[in-house]
Amino acid sequence: MIEFQNVSFSYEKGKSVIKGLSFSIADGEAVGLIGANGAGKSTVMKLLLGLLAGEGKILVDGLEVNRANLAAVRKKLGFVLQNSDNQMFMPTVYEDMIFAPLNYMVSREEAEQRVDRVLSQLGLDYLKHRYNHKISGGEKRMAAIATVLAMEPEAILMDEPTSALDPYNRRIVINTIRALPQTKLITSHDLDMILDTCERVILLSDGQIAADGPADEILRDRALLEANHMELPLSLCGRE
């Protein structure tokens, strides 16, 4: 589904943030992208979405991420931003959810059906006509996920989906992510959430892959995590 082939990128000349990155993600796989601050996680996401252009080749469902394919690639990828305020820019949740389908020329009738289906699937029917500036942070995060699901993307990318959420809302978001059948790529410092939602983890360090393997193995490796400025997930502390 997603393939990085020797991808490099630098914001400043001579200072590479991503260095010859190669990995692939299969259909339906849930992958956690972890690493310390500045490791290059957000840059990887932006490269994948075509918001940045680097060297090397990135493929999404066989399509190369380049200017010509950008619209088709973006249609396949749903991106949940870390700051839901930046994602929810329309007045109401309904208008935000219908924004993408209508832009992709889905008929209004079908788009409205999608909105109802997704809201019902996430148990958020009560949010449909609420104003974005009047809903809570947790509701906004769930609504942001709903706006992406209404696109019916083939893969979902999430940037820190549980940041700034209370434990109750965090659990709701985690359960929602777990239930999604799509391919998932999630960046987060919340390693407990990654452990709960992803079967595979890619650990980035200084723009390169430091480890790539089953989440249960990598997230139990205290030495590896500490060498990369991270710690064991709280749920595994004392039990590794």
Partner: protein, 267 residues
């Protein structure tokens, strides 16, 4: 809630006003946009001394306020920052134009005073009409209507993003103001020594967020078209509204209604 949070809430309230339902809300954005432009052109076309000719044009916004159910006080409350600026436009006219053109009993009124009042009224009328358009039509629908008239994509996108970014900038300003006051207890406002860095930071932070917001639009298929905007087709009622409005403007522009009414009551 600080001032900025209140400002944010007010921006949100404009969207709520636009989402209401009334005969005016239910008209197509195209009809409302055209009639508003025609109204503003009519208002602006009056001579600077033609105060009595201009006054009857109040009729149109008053009618629209009544039919749409939007309280007039909401309009003046939301325009409270802009109104004084508009009113100030002709403030110096009385000093430059002193020739007497009118006598009210024993009081001589100079051309400067009349032109000042005319300019003020013109400003107020144009603002009221613009407010009514935005308060009865979702902003994205206005943008869609502008595109129908082949206003350049870039210009319309700029307008749309400006509208969206006002909220973003206000949010950032609210956060920064709170952070400043928490470390400057008892201080009123922002000290002049911090203005430079404060504004610089505000600009950088707002740009960051604005970029992310625009990226979010692009990632969900935005390509400077407005398929997603709620658009009501231009129907019979829109044609009637538009034709009625244009007729009314023509009548008020070319017939001195004030003089006619005066002739009826004063013989």
């Amino acid at each position: 809630m600080n001032k900025m949070d209140k400002a944010l809430q007010e921006i949100g309230e404009m969207d709520e006003l636009a989402a209401r339902s009334s005969p005016i809300h239910n008209l197509s954005a195209t009809a409302k946009l055209l009639s508003t432009i025609a109204y503003i052109v009519t208002v602006v076309s009056f001579d600077k001394y033609d105060l009595s000719g201009l006054a009857p044009l109040l009729l149109w916004p008053v009618l629209l306020f009544q039919i749409s159910g939007i309280p007039v006080r909401t309009c003046f409350y939301k325009l409270r920052i802009v109104l004084p600026l508009v009113m100030a436009v002709g403030l110096f006219n009385p000093f430059f134009d002193r020739h007497i053109i009118l006598r009210l009993g024993t009081i001589a009124v100079s051309g400067g005073v009349v032109s000042m009042l005319t300019l003020m009224l013109k400003g107020v009328l144009c603002l009221m009409a613009s407010f009514l358009l935005v308060a009865t039509t979702p902003f994205d629908s206005i943008c869609a209507a502008l595109r129908k008239f082949h206003v350049p994509k870039t210009l319309v996108t700029l307008l749309l993003l400006t509208y969206r970014y006002v909220g973003v900038m206000t949010e950032e300003l609210a956060v920064m103001t709170d952070a400043y006051h928490l470390r400057a207890p008892g201080q009123k406002g922002i000290h002049v020594s911090a203005w430079g860095s404060f504004l610089g930071q505000l600009l950088l932070r707002s740009m960051d967020r604005a970029q992310e917001l625009y990226a979010s639009m692009l990632l969900r298929g935005y390509h400077q078209h407005f398929h997603y905007a709620p658009q009501k087709p231009f129907g019979k009622k829109d044609a009637v509204f538009l034709a009625g409005s244009l007729l009314l403007f023509a009548l008020l522009r070319f017939v001195d209604v004030a003089q006619l009414l005066g002739g009826v009551f004063v013989r």
